[in-house]
């Protein structure tokens, strides 16, 4: 892999992590309304996938979507402003953390209904195919989502129509407090691809290079007209499910084990050890990102809330 790509992967993951650490801090200060689902620990998935995409390609996101947004190229300031419910946010404060979208970069939005994005991604794939474009769509969803009817119907439809879609299952072991293996018998969610006659792979979702490679392959298949792929990324959320979750349902030692597999630290170590990155460079990158995030926070915090009656706008196009 080219050095620039490696650095790009590293930088993007870090950007997500630092951005979200800030979100966490801000909600400690009561600046974030509602709830928040952090992506910390899962950055390799969004980044490994989206780095294979063009700006004109699409992604469909979830309630745990900050990482998807940033990996696809969303602006930090407008993302942060949306999370804070500001008028300057991507959705003018109407969407919030669970409903961010940036259509200008092919980020088709997050849905807070688990699994609901899957057939929508199928539709985006259908659209590209009908328009004769070579765009691909990456659809992110969780292990829990793979038990929804929409998973079955949406992937089956994409399969029979050979649509250019990557179904990216972020298996972070839990859906809220429910372990993946408590909610289904197969160990590997990728086995479910058999039901649709499409390829399925299970990979280490904390290794951004594995994700990158799997996505590259799937994108190639998709652009080549060979149809969808189901990619299961085994990963872990380092925090609780949402704002208030102490995550006491985790067995002892589990978090620690997974913290050791932190995708950012892993790549950083690797790049440092083979000389593609230096301590000085990592420090500089971190500084740059911290500054960018700081700017985003300033923008977001200083932005106004929407006026109440703006609630009545945007119901119809």
């Amino acid at each position: 892999m080219k050095k620039e790509t490696l650095i790009r992967l590293y930088r993007k993951m870090l950007e997500i992590r630092i951005f979200e650490e800030k979100v966490f801090e801000l909600y400690g200060q009561n600046l974030v309304p509602g709830t928040i689902h952090l992506y910390s620990g899962e950055e390799a998935v969004a980044v490994g996938v989206c780095t294979n995409l063009r700006q004109s390609d699409y992604i469909v996101s979830t309630h745990r979507g900050h990482g998807h947004c940033i990996a696809k190229g969303a602006k930090l300031d407008k993302t942060m402003a949306e999370i804070l419910g500001k008028k300057t946010g991507y959705c003018k404060g109407k969407g919030g953390s669970m409903h961010i979208a940036d259509f200008s970069i092919g980020m088709l939005g997050a849905t807070a209904v688990v699994g609901a994005g899957i057939p929508i991604a199928t539709g985006a794939g259908l659209s590209s195919k009908l328009r004769g474009s070579d765009q691909v769509t990456a659809c992110f969803f969780g292990d829990g989502a793979s038990n929804q009817g929409t998973f079955h119907e949406g992937i089956n439809l994409a399969a029979i129509w050979r649509l250019p879609v990557l179904f990216v299952c972020e298996n972070n072991l839990y859906a809220m407090g429910t372990r993946q293996t408590q909610a289904m018998l197969p160990q590997d969610i990728s086995e479910r691809s058999v039901a649709y006659g499409i390829p399925g792979v299970s990979i280490d979702g904390n290794d951004v290079l594995s994700v990158y490679d799997a996505a590259e392959e799937a994108v190639k298949r998709a652009r080549g007209g060979l149809g969808p792929t189901l990619i299961e990324c085994k990963t872990y959320r380092q925090k609780g499910h949402s704002r208030w979750d102490p995550a006491t349902y985790r067995p002892k030692g589990e978090v620690e084990k997974w913290l050791e597999k932190d995708p950012i630290i892993r790549l950083e170590k690797q790049l440092l050890s083979n000389g593609e990155l230096s301590e000085a460079k990592t420090t500089r990158i971190k500084r740059e990102i911290e500054n960018a995030v700081e700017d985003a926070v300033k923008f977001a915090v200083s932005s106004p809330y929407p006026a109440g009656d703006e609630a009545l706008e945007d119901v119809f196009a």
Binding site: G89, Y90, C91, G109, I120, A124, L126, G154, L157
Partner: protein, 324 residues
């Protein structure tokens, strides 16, 4: 002008819009060349436009609507068919939480030019899972438009407007209307949403009736005329937006209102229209409002039972006479 059946008027709208705009395409169960629609609305379309634009799907209502939403927000204009309105229950999340809310949730970034065609209504003895009229639910789901044509002319004109528009539309068709004939112009036309049609003028009582019930109301009107009660019959044509003015103006004139619609009575279409008048035009009312709708039961199978629950001319006449 030419005479045409309701189902053919719909087909003509589809054909003309597919010719006019190549982003228009159809998807649904058995709409393609092998079956051509459960009610034969899409007859010949796969032959004319190919399987690519007339897409048979598996029995996956959620995915049909979800895929249509995904296509709509990325530049296409899908017309999805749900084979029976009762089966929208399987896709309510996609219809109500996704299609209807995407424009709003995302702050106006995305358009959802999606039409969902689906047949409602009873009268053909196919029981509780194939006979409902669920229009009221879609009125109660902000972000959706709801069309309820009662004539071939309206079906074609409203469907064209729906397809050309940028919002999700629930396009309600009545099973018993498909073979009904009516006149339509030879040339292209559209009908704006939110404009009611006065089907019959009268001074004594206003009847607001929807879909198949418009015809029943007109029959009732004839009977009532003989008894020197002169009713005005208003067909809203779209429920969202609703032509409130037309209804209120008529009530202002007649002072009396009967609302007639299939679908069960409680919290139904007739409730909204009655409430509207209670709120905005109560001073004009000289008598209680009457609602003629299905009782709050599922639709039974046996003809003798089904006939009992679906409003007919007699029920309308009685309701009018109660307040006239």
């Amino acid at each position: 002008m030419k005479e045409i059946a309701f189902r053919d008027a719909i087909r003509e709208a589809l054909v003309e819009e597919m010719k006019r705009d190549e982003t228009v395409f159809l998807l649904g169960e058995d709409i393609g060349r092998y079956w051509e629609g459960a009610f034969k609305v899409t007859k010949g379309l796969a032959d004319e436009f190919g399987d690519k634009r007339v897409r048979d799907t598996p029995i996956s209502e959620s995915a049909i609507i979800g895929a249509a939403v995904g296509a709509a927000i990325t530049g296409m204009r899908p017309v999805a068919e749900i084979m029976f309105g009762d089966l929208t229950t399987l896709a309510m999340d996609q219809i109500v939480n996704q299609a209807a809310k995407i424009h709003y949730m995302f702050g106006g970034q995305a358009k959802v030019p999606l039409v969902i065609r689906t047949p409602f209504g009873g009268g053909v003895n196919i029981a509780a899972h194939h006979s409902q009229s669920l229009q009221a639910w879609f009125m109660h789901a902000p972000g959706l438009l709801v069309a309820i044509p009662s004539t071939p002319y309206d079906a074609k004109g409203l469907l064209k407007t729906a397809i050309r528009g940028d919002n999700p539309v629930i396009f309600c068709e009545h099973k018993l209307l498909y073979p009904e004939k009516g006149l339509i112009p030879e040339e292209d036309y559209t009908i704006p949403f939110g404009l009611a049609q006065t089907r019959r003028e009268g001074e004594d009582v206003t009847i607001v009736a929807t879909m198949f019930m418009v015809g029943k109301a007109l029959e009732a009107a004839k009977t009532l005329e003989k008894q020197t009660i002169n009713v005005e019959v208003i067909d809203p044509r779209t429920l969202i937006p609703l032509d409130k003015e037309a209804i209120i103006n008529s009530v202002r004139k007649t002072g009396r209102l009967v609302v007639v619609s299939e679908g069960c009575k409680t919290a139904g279409v007739t409730a909204e229209i009655a409430a509207l008048v209670a709120e905005k035009a109560i001073d004009y009312l000289d008598a209680p409002v009457r609602r003629v709708a299905e009782p709050d039961t599922p639709i039974p199978f046996s003809p003798s039972l089904e006939k009992h629950v679906i409003p007919d001319e007699k029920a309308i006449v009685e309701a009018v006479k109660e307040i006239a």
